[in-house]
């Protein structure tokens, strides 16, 4: 108990201000690094990153959550909060789709066409969520037929099903494969044609507008872009 209290008091003595960043789940690792970098530059600021599905985050922001910055995994959810942005959103990263399979690719899957094979259990995102809409768009562009066993609510659920071995293959984002273990990616031909853009904007609902602007600058600047590229994100 004493330790916990001591921890709290040091934290509050050093952190005079708090910057609350709402970021899409796929940005978890990247924003942990950016949080550290920002706090190193601004010793009196405590950056608190709240992660979740973009739709979920946008919904809580609309309901009045005190976000200073919102980094969304798609433009639709940024539009949902557009009345609350303090400055126009900027695209800071892009992501493309890929096939995720078990390590070693035991079923020798080569592309989207193989997902309709009888011996392949595949899962994709539901058309209602951004990754599912992108998957459909890519399949249409490639003329591939999908025969999924499940239409998951999020890309994390697709990845989970493949990582657990319930499904043989799934369609996820390139950066998701980098985060998971026991799986590898199989590039999809023409994947570059369907690009998912990540917008970021400072929000008017928060209390630290000046800090929010400098955090957005960090993400858009060289340091931020380097961390994003290392995680597999494309540049805007």
């Amino acid at each position: 108990m004493t330790l916990v209290l001591a921890g709290c008091s040091t934290a509050s003595a050093g952190d005079d201000r708090v910057l609350t960043v709402y970021a899409a789940a796929s940005l978890t690792d990247v924003f942990a690094q950016l949080e550290e970098a920002y706090e190193a530059e601004h010793p009196h600021v405590d950056v608190v990153v709240v992660h979740g599905g973009s739709a979920e985050l946008a919904a809580t922001i609309v309901e009045g959550a005190p976000a200073d910055v919102f980094a969304s995994a798609n433009e639709a959810q940024m539009e949902a909060v557009q009345e609350l942005t303090a400055a126009p959103p900027t695209i800071f990263a892009t992501n493309t789709l890929t096939l995720v399979v078990e390590d070693g690719n035991p079923l020798r899957l080569a592309g989207l066409d193989d997902l309709a094979r009888e011996d392949v259990v595949s899962v994709v995102c539901a058309p209602q969520v951004p990754c599912g809409a992108a998957t459909l768009e890519l399949a249409a562009a490639e003329g591939a037929t999908l025969a999924p066993s499940s239409q998951e609510s999020s890309v994390t659920d697709v990845l989970g099903k493949v990582a657990a071995g319930q499904a043989d293959a799934g369609v996820v984002y390139v950066t998701d494969v980098a985060r998971a273990s026991g799986v590898e990616q199989v590039e999809i031909d023409g994947a570059a044609a369907v690009v998912n853009s990540y917008p970021i904007a400072p929000m008017s609902g928060g209390e630290s507008l000046d800090l929010a602007a400098s955090f957005v600058d960090l993400v858009l600047g060289d340091a931020g872009q380097r961390v994003l590229a290392e995680a597999g994100f494309g540049s805007p």
Binding site: G53, A55, A59, V121, V123, A126, Q128, V129, P148, S149, S150, Q151, E152, S153, D157, G160, K161, A164, G165, Q166, A167
Partner: protein
């Protein structure tokens, strides 16, 4: 009831009712008929009612014997075993789904054997039933065990001295006396199965008409159409409340009838 408890009771009712009232207040009445009769909504409702009904039957068939066994078992391991059986009540939903994967998944403990026997559960309606049965079972076990524990067993002993077999005693003496508790357990198990979400999502997947129950449909609709999600949520609550209201009356109201037997 002491007078000081009244404000606390009102507060308790508020904590439970306010979120429900707030949800109903968000309903877009003009779109309600269209939202509730959408094919996706009807599919999900039908699947939910069917799977929850099957799961509840399984809970009754299996949970009753387990509750009975726990009530009559005399062992120092009993508290530990009881606590483990009740674990699904406290497991976070997604962890429950992972636990089911580790047991029945394609790479799980039993998964390989099931697969060889041609009984792959992956992404089937049966997987939904397994998930619902897993989370709802404790209600049935607990209801049976506590009701049996509250009885002295004199009637059973008497039936035995009159020459009744154990099965005859069970059907004609024990079960009629347990009726209120069994109804409570059944209703709670059904309500829990109907609301099951996390374990289904993790273990069974989400496919329209196969594994996408109403809670999963609500979760998905929320991404694109919050009005639809709210409408379906109110439908789910209405179904559950109706079932509970029809089947479940407080134990005290039943006691005279039960005592008369």
């Amino acid at each position: 009831m002491p007078r000081w408890m009244a404000p606390l009771a009102v507060l308790a009712a508020t904590v439970v009712l306010l979120p429900i009232v707030a949800t109903v207040a968000r309903l877009d009445w003009s779109r309600l008929p269209e939202l509730l009769t959408a094919p996706a909504a009807l599919d999900a409702l039908g699947l939910s009612l069917a799977t929850a009904a099957i799961s509840t039957c399984l809970c009754l068939m299996l949970g009753l014997p387990l509750g009975y066994a726990l009530a009559t078992w005399r062992s120092r391991f009993k508290p530990a075993v009881r606590a483990l059986v009740l674990a699904p009540l406290v497991l976070p939903p997604v962890v429950g789904g992972l636990a089911l994967l580790y047991a029945f998944g394609r790479r799980g403990l039993l998964g390989g054997a099931l697969e060889d026997a041609g009984l792959s559960l992956a992404f089937t309606t049966a997987a939904v039933v397994v998930a619902q049965t897993f989370v709802a079972m404790p209600f049935m076990v607990l209801a049976t065990e506590s009701a049996l524990g509250a009885q002295a067993g004199h009637h059973e002993a008497l039936a035995g001295t009159l020459g009744a077999s154990r099965s005859t005693t069970l059907w004609h003496v024990t079960l009629p006396a347990l009726r209120p508790a069994l109804i409570t357990g059944t209703v709670l198990a059904f309500a829990r199965a109907l609301g099951e979400f996390g374990a289904t999502l993790t273990f069974a997947g989400s496919m329209p008409g196969v594994t996408r129950t109403l809670p999963l449909e609500i979760y998905l609709q929320r991404e694109t159409d919050a009005d639809a999600a709210v409408a379906l949520a109110v439908l789910l609550v209405a179904v559950a409340v109706t079932v509970v209201a029809l089947a479940y009356r407080p134990l005290s109201a039943r006691t005279p009838a039960g005592a008369g037997r």
